[in-house]
Symmetry: C2
Subunit: 414 residues, 2 copies
């Protein structure tokens, strides 16, 4: 017998048939003898509609009232799922954030969970009842107001609740069936990973493998919650995100990630003097523009070229800001390029194995792909390349690191 | 300066434009120097969708979970209206039932308000803030669960909150502009009543003039809350529902109501012995079938004909029940007639004036309308007639009791 938190996202509860499907999945775990709590998102599309109403009324709407409106999406789902469970003979009861309570700070719209009292939930689970919990929402206790955790917050709710009830596992059901060595739409021979470490998952999540929300992986790592990613539509085991000690055979490279949401900015002939980096990145940071990779060439004539990347949606704002600061910084010209992609090779095995970066550079070079910027971390090597080469690069690296699985059977043939 | 509770129904908040319109109405009262609290329903259509989802999942769904689902409709409206008010410079804050709290009993789906703590609301109103309160919902404190008050419950919420905050008036904004002497769609010369007593309003509400929910009128009468019914779309005074002492010139008859939601059942040759009425109405009452008018003729040969009316939607169930009890009751035949209408003449002046019923019978007789059943109360005379004669009867009575106003100007002419 285990204690399991099951989390279902918006597409998994998109209509009544899917809610019934979720109820059946929950029933199976209950009948297997497990103690189960369920966390659900709003039916897909609902949250977007609610957000749009708030924005149409006022782009600068009060975040406290925004939270009152958008929290209703999850409230509808918990009531419906509780009814669906009871209908097939599973004892169930819905729980809103304020009823548990899930206490958060006052940062409405993107609140942080501060504490969860798991005692009532544990009591009900031990008595054989399934708590059906609204994800994404909490209670700010000082003002007695509903808060929401920001987009993708239901993953975070699930992990936080799993920690609070001391669950053996937190199963995140989604529309993919696990974490892959890379995007299977690009590489059909991508393999599903049975296990992946928190650290690797974090690197993959932050570079565009949108399986799990980054904050939820951070929390799982901090609270040592074992997370499983699996499909709500198919019936097979998913990928387990765990402590690296639980991974017996650690591959050197676990996955290849890519992101096309990047843009590159180059400032030509920046004066090569102390403090110039601060004069460039200070104003960007103040305007909440996140800069990712940074390269600075050593100049010969007292000036240098400075290149960095940022989120593509931030590019127009960053250009405006830097143009205004042109005299202060003293650069000659600004060149912006939105047609770039970041390709990352991720693996905890890198800590103990040299040569991972060399293999990457060699492979890309053999395919004639020009590397524009390089950055590395302890378990990741990332390069910036022209966006047109994204698929070619991902496929070549996937093969080079020995990640290719067998050719999948094509559907509709045979 | 007065303290006012303003209540807006589903059609008044049906979309963002109408919510903005409501915000402007509230602003006007605030700028006139009044202390204002607002009670709102769900955007029209929303509650029906939520109810349908619950019923589709299970016709016998758990009422506690049903309440969790349907209470979201009002929650959306309060957040949106609070944003709309803030956008036009009116300080506002939303309140759900559990936040105030509005405490109810455990009768989920049709809970009764047991107590409302008005202190927080009064505090905010005195500080110049407008509380925007979700109608229709409350909190059952023992289990800490959301309850709803049943259909039309927002009127009830508004009156109960008006009593709790000791409001000078409870303004119910709706899609009609007041209480009329009869249905203006049938009688164009119907007049809007400036004032009507609680008792008359109750009789009119219960016989089909669907302006105010019956329970809310009962509560207003009990708590002495002055209620005004007025239009959210037009800008003119409505009708005031008040204690009869506040009505200086009491007309003998205030209005003519009708209802086509009735059906008539006649049991032929029922044995005329003690206990037979109980054998007929006991099973109906046990099955929650409300019987309204009852007539029993004195029979000559030890048997009698028994006629009664009930809600038309209850007719199939009642027929089944009575067929099953046929042997026990001992009647010869059952005749059901759904094509009947109940016409009622209502007025507190009847208490002191005789001849009201006589005028009614005479007027209907002159038009050749056959009266099937008669029932009376202290301030009401009702008759059952063939449904086809409804309009004719209402018009004739409206004229006979001197209720006709001037011929209204026709729209689109002139």
């Amino acid at each position: 017998m285990a204690r399991i938190v099951m989390k279902f996202g918006g597409t998994s509860v998109a209509d009544l048939d899917r809610i019934r499907n979720v109820a059946n999945r929950v029933k199976r775990e209950v009948e297997a003898g497990h103690e189960v709590a369920v966390v659900v998102s709003a039916m897909s599309g609902t949250t977007n509609q609610l957000v749009k109403w708030c924005q149409d009324l006022s782009p600068l709407h009060d975040a406290r009232e925004y939270d009152v409106v958008v929290a209703t999406g999850e409230q509808v789902t918990i009531g419906l799922l509780a009814i669906a469970l009871q209908t097939i003979g599973v004892e169930a009861r819905s729980w809103q954030g304020w009823q548990i309570p899930i206490l958060t700070d006052q940062a409405h719209g993107k609140a942080r969970v501060e504490s969860i009292d798991g005692s009532l939930l544990i009591e009900r689970m031990q008595a054989g009842q399934v708590p059906v919990i609204a994800g994404f929402q909490g209670l700010e206790p000082t003002r007695n107001r509903v808060t929401t955790l920001g987009r993708g917050g239901s993953d975070l709710s699930a992990v936080a609740i799993a920690a609070a009830v001391k669950a053996d596992r937190c199963d995140i059901y989604t529309d993919v069936d696990g974490v892959y060595t890379t995007d299977p739409r690009i590489v059909p021979r991508a393999r599903k990973l049975d296990r992946i470490s928190y650290e690797e998952m974090l690197e993959l999540a932050s570079v565009g493998a949108k399986v799990l929300q980054t904050r939820s992986v951070e929390l799982a790592m901090k609270q040592r919650v074992r997370v499983q990613v699996l499909s709500s539509f198919e019936d097979k085991p998913g990928s387990l995100v765990v402590d690296e000690d639980e991974i017996v055979e650690q591959p050197i490279v676990s996955g290849i990630a890519y992101s096309r949401d990047e843009a590159k900015v180059t400032l030509r002939r920046v004066p090569d003097r102390p403090g110039v980096a601060a004069s460039v990145f200070g104003p960007l940071s103040a305007a909440n523009v996140n800069v990712d990779m940074i390269v600075q060439n050593v100049g010969a004539d007292g000036s240098t070229d400075m290149t960095f990347t940022l989120g593509r949606t931030d590019l127009p704002r960053a250009r405006d800001l830097l143009e205004k600061e042109k005299a202060t910084i003293g650069f000659e010209a600004m060149i912006a390029d939105p047609d770039v992609a970041k390709i990352s090779v991720v693996g905890i095995g890198m800590r103990t194995h040299a040569g991972v970066a060399t293999t990457m550079f060699k492979t890309l070079s053999e395919k004639g792909i020009n590397i524009q910027v390089i950055s590395t971390s302890e378990i990741k090597v990332s390069v910036l390349i022209p966006a047109d080469y994204t698929e070619l690069a991902v496929r070549a690296l996937h093969t080079a690191y020995g990640l290719d699985g067998p050719e999948p059977a094509r559907r509709g043939e045979g």
